[in-house]
């Protein structure tokens, strides 16, 4: 076995990206994500890759998209205020189908808020932050090791589906240091973009069976046009009604068609549970602790940990909720993913959100106490 190591969430995120083949980072420093940039600034030059500190977050995502258009795997990292500024270009990446990963290490509050305190309050923003209808994938790691694995996965999903993927890490995980073990047989699998093989028979935004068009890269053998305007399959602007609808719908279907490949959840004593906790990120750890303690007390608690937040694991949540007496959703926000859970639950009276917005992680005690009240 490989020697276990003490590693930090942000560190593992950067190293995961490098392992996934990322060779371009552009970003603008912001607490609590800065370590990610710092690691890239140190490691990328060694690998011949590019680290750029841009003038702001808008430029950062723009540069990442530009780099990705040349075929490079590219990433940026930020926190709330920067993520807000990236929204317009996130929409560009969605509509122009440019693979890229945006790490958002979530901190508390709107505006400057509380830069050093954790929150999970950008969950809805990750889905809805940009204007217009679009598709996006968002993942949330619950451990330092998972920060590595999910960054790899984020890069892979971005490449496979030609979408912006948001890694929603909360500050607790980003700054957490813990024991990480890489097994000697553990391999980092890299997914590559579907490449255009023959420009005669394929188009850069074509409606393929799997919904994902082949990628034409800048500086490759075929020239093409990329625009943020609604475009037809060739990539040029269109104002044909069917063409418009086809593009916007495909941007959705290319994700919803592949839920089984994209959506990941983890079950922890779910099957026989009476009370189900649904959680993600660091709050899922509190939930795990609560489940362990509840079980010790003989209470049948279980946890459905959401790894993929968007597309929302609708099927998994409704299946897991079947026959449960209560569903507890602890979050470090005023109740965001709980809204989605409410949408999916057959009976909203079963839903018990727990919300903390004071910069502290929800505690196992709080979860147990809610559990105690209802069960």
């Amino acid at each position: 076995m490989v020697k276990p190591k003490l590693m930090q969430g942000n560190e593992c995120c950067a190293l995961g990206a490098l392992a996934a083949g990322v060779r371009f980072f552009a970003g603008y420093p912001i607490t609590p994500s800065t370590e990610i940039a710092e690691i890239f600034s140190k490691e990328l030059p060694k690998l011949g890759g590019v680290f750029m500190q841009m003038e702001d977050e808008i430029a950062s995502l723009a540069a990442v998209i530009g780099a990705s258009l040349t075929g490079k795997k590219a990433i940026t990292a930020t926190s709330g205020p920067g993520f807000s500024l990236m929204q317009e270009n996130l929409g560009f990446a969605a509509v122009a189908e440019v693979p890229c990963v945006i790490v958002n290490v979530m901190r508390l509050g709107p505006s400057t808020g509380m830069p050093t305190l954790p929150a999970q309050s950008d969950v809805m923003q990750a889905r809805w932050g940009t204007h217009g209808d679009h598709s996006v994938i968002a993942l949330a790691p619950s451990s330092v090791k998972e920060a590595f694995c999910l960054t790899v996965r984020a890069v892979n999903l971005a490449e496979r589906y030609r979408v912006p993927v948001v890694l929603l890490m909360d500050e607790v995980i980003g700054h957490l240091r813990e024991r990480v073990v890489f097994q000697p047989d553990e391999k980092v699998v890299q997914w590559e973009r579907k490449q255009c093989l023959n420009p005669k028979s394929s188009q850069p935004f074509e409606e393929t069976a799997d919904g994902i068009p082949p990628f034409f890269s800048f500086g490759g053998e075929y020239r093409h046009h990329v625009t943020g305007l609604v475009h037809d399959e060739s990539g040029f602007p269109t104002s044909q009604r069917e063409g418009i609808s086809r593009l916007i719908r495909r941007l959705h279907y290319k994700i919803t068609q592949h839920l089984s490949d994209i959506v990941q959840v983890e079950e922890f004593f779910v099957d026989d549970a009476d009370v189900l906790i649904i959680a993600y990120g660091s709050t899922a750890r509190s939930a795990q602790a609560a489940v362990v303690r509840a079980r010790e007390e003989g209470k049948k608690a279980g946890l459905l940990r959401l790894i993929t937040l968007w597309p929302f694991p609708e099927k998994e949540v409704s299946t897991a909720a079947v026959n449960k007496k209560a569903v507890i959703v602890p979050e470090m926000n005023m109740g965001q993913l709980a809204l989605e859970v409410a949408r999916v639950l057959p009976d909203k009276n079963l839903l018990f959100p727990i919300n903390r917005v004071d910069g502290e992680l929800v505690t196992p005690d709080e979860i147990l106490s809610v559990m105690g009240r209802i069960y």
Binding site: L176, R179, S286, E360
Partner: protein, 188 residues
């Protein structure tokens, strides 16, 4: 199954307590334990309230935060005021006698160590106080063997810095020793 340690090092920004907590967590992992390390600090880059926390266990550590430490080190008056009340019933409290004015025993296991004073006196500078703290902790709790900590040092300090940090650590070990001896004085 050995003891579950919940260690909180509290004081001010600039005292190096976060580094100390990282080295402790790393040493624990080298020693085959499970460990998580967290931290919290204010917007001030120096002098604001600051803490480093480590949980050391043989089990999985899910919830990574500490509400009731069973080992608390306080390196400022504010730290005592903020954290002492949360110490677990059987918890150990170590205070920096040099910086904390409240030096009357407030918990059953109460150790006074003149951490910063010793550091200044022997090394001429405050900035190694964090390794003095670490030495004291190791001696008082024996959570990780000395040699594992020393091994860990190699990864955290450049060659120039290693020497003095080792010295500081040794000062801490001795001071911990002494504090244990003085412990009788305070036991309630």
């Amino acid at each position: 199954m050995s003891k579950l340690w919940k260690v909180r090092l509290s004081g001010k920004g600039g005292q190096g307590l976060i580094t100390a907590s990282i080295v402790l967590a790393d040493a624990a992992i080298r020693f085959g334990k499970n460990a998580v390390q967290t931290q919290s600090y204010g917007p001030e880059s120096r002098g604001g309230a600051c803490r480093g926390e480590v949980i050391i266990s043989d089990q999985n550590i899910y919830y990574p935060k500490i509400s009731h430490p069973n080992l608390l080190v306080c390196m400022s008056d504010t730290a005592v005021k903020t954290h002492a009340g949360f110490l677990a019933g059987d918890g150990i409290l170590i205070i920096d006698e040099t910086l904390v004015t409240q030096t009357r025993p407030i918990k059953s296991q109460f150790y006074k160590v003149p951490i910063t004073g010793l550091c200044r006196e022997k090394l001429g500078q405050d900035i190694y106080a964090n390794m003095v703290v670490l030495g004291a902790i190791i001696r008082i709790t024996e959570v990780v063997p000395e040699n594992v900590v020393l091994e860990t040092f190699q990864d955290y300090f450049s060659l120039e810095m290693l020497e003095t940090n080792l010295q500081a650590f040794t000062i801490g070990l001795k001071a911990g020793e002494k504090a244990i001896k003085r412990f009788g004085e305070f036991s309630a």
